[in-house]
Amino acid sequence: MDILPILIDWLPYLLSGIASTLGLVLAALGLGVLLGLPMALGQVYGARPVRWVVGIYVWFFRGLPILVLLFLFWFGIFPALGLGELSAFIVGAVVLGLRGAAYQSQIFRGAIQSVGEGQMIAARSLGMSRLTAIRSVILPQAMRIALPGWSNEYPNILTDSAVCYAIGVVELLTITSRMVTQTHITMPIYLAAAGIFIVLNYGGLKLLHRLEKRIAIPGFGTGAM
């Protein structure tokens, strides 16, 4: 059986599924940076209670399977907080983001710690405040060091986003399943979906690696990670 006409028939749905998957991934990556970076700073420079709270957060979100986290938030925590009206897409993106933050915070933490301690001392002795030193001296270097490790979060989040199928987010895998149920063609459609995921995966990575090269400072090696 020829798969191509069917794929073309379903193209609008497939594209909406791809858009939804990429939306999940981008939202999760964004949220991951937004939360993960302050968490990393808290873990390196924060007071003991801050470090402790961040540690627990990371332990919790890295110790649970993504499926259980999705179920817990979708069926349990969000409805209990009165947020039961939120769409599955938003819940999926938030959960992927909260979990991404736990992983990304550790990438940022490693990068911040790899910028030598002397830099902070030097910045302080030049009269900078701690915050200015972090913002103007430490982070510009640390973020560049973190980028290769951070890029590797993209494929992880992309493949995890497929699990959002379980709470009914209409992303690429959901569209794929619907296609299979309605057309009764299984293998070709699944393999096509796998192909799309693979293209998204390595295509995205390529873009991120290009970004790494672009923002690299000549003579400043980023091979540390």
Partner: protein, 228 residues
């Protein structure tokens, strides 16, 4: 219904039954995942160009595909071409394929980190290439790969939950069934989560001990100890 009755007489027994299935899934997958990882890494690093290319492509394809989609292919897709697995077997096959690919990457990294001179020296002593790989290179490389491999093992524990999506009632599935039946979503999934946290934490500790035990005195550990 009384909270304690619900917890001890309904939730806990169900979760323990699920836990048994989860442990079975892991026990059936992990050894083969490790073996596959070693085979693929060695094949890619030391095999002839065809074998090397095959190993590389396998890792490329598996790493690019979501595990859930792989499980769908194995369980819902393969019957259409005449291969039928039970849900449990399909899950185990999926976990082995996935675990093997990621393990292979860590082992390959460790193989590369063993200096080339060792192979030359081993062959100079009259060993065949294969003997050198087995007796000289791999024992060192596998030790260096332990942190990465244990990370993958922990991922395997967590991703074993995806078996529920192809109808295997393991830990997450057991929690989901109780949650749906008694309308206790937060409690049930929190309890499931605690069991996973315990499993993962125990593994982390066990791996640290293992790493110390198999360490060869005088050799330096290449990478810091495993984290989750």
């Amino acid at each position: 219904m009384d909270q304690a009755v619900f917890f001890f007489e309904i939730l806990l027994p169900a979760l323990m039954q699920g836990l048994v299935v989860t442990l079975q899934l892991i026990a059936c997958s992990a050894p083969f995942g490790l073996a596959l990882g070693v085979a693929v890494a060695v094949g890619r690093q030391y095999g002839n160009p065809v074998v090397s290319w095959l190993c590389k492509t396998y890792v490329f394809l598996i790493k690019g595909t979501p595990l859930l989609l792989l499980l769908f292919i194995l369980y819902f897709g393969l019957p259409s071409i005449g291969i039928t697995f039970t849900a449990f077997v399909a899950s185990v096959v999926g976990f082995i394929l996935c675990n093997g690919a990621y393990n292979a990457e860590y082992i390959r990294g460790a193989l590369i980190s063993i200096k080339e001179g060792q192979m030359v020296a081993a062959q100079a002593l009259g060993m065949t290439r294969w003997q050198a790989i087995r007796n000289v290179i791999l024992p060192q490389a596998l030790r260096r790969a332990i942190p990465g491999l244990s990370n993958e093992f922990i991922y395997l524990i967590k991703y074993s939950s995806l078996a529920y999506m192809i109808t295997v009632i393991e830990l997450s599935g057991a929690g989901k069934l109780v949650a749906t039946k008694y309308f206790t979503y937060t409690e049930s999934f929190a309890a499931v989560g605690i069991v996973y946290l315990v499993l993962v934490s125990i593994t982390t500790i066990a791996v640290t001990i293992l790493e110390k035990r198999v360490a060869v005195p005088g050799t330096v550990r290449a990478t810091p100890s495993a984290q989750l």
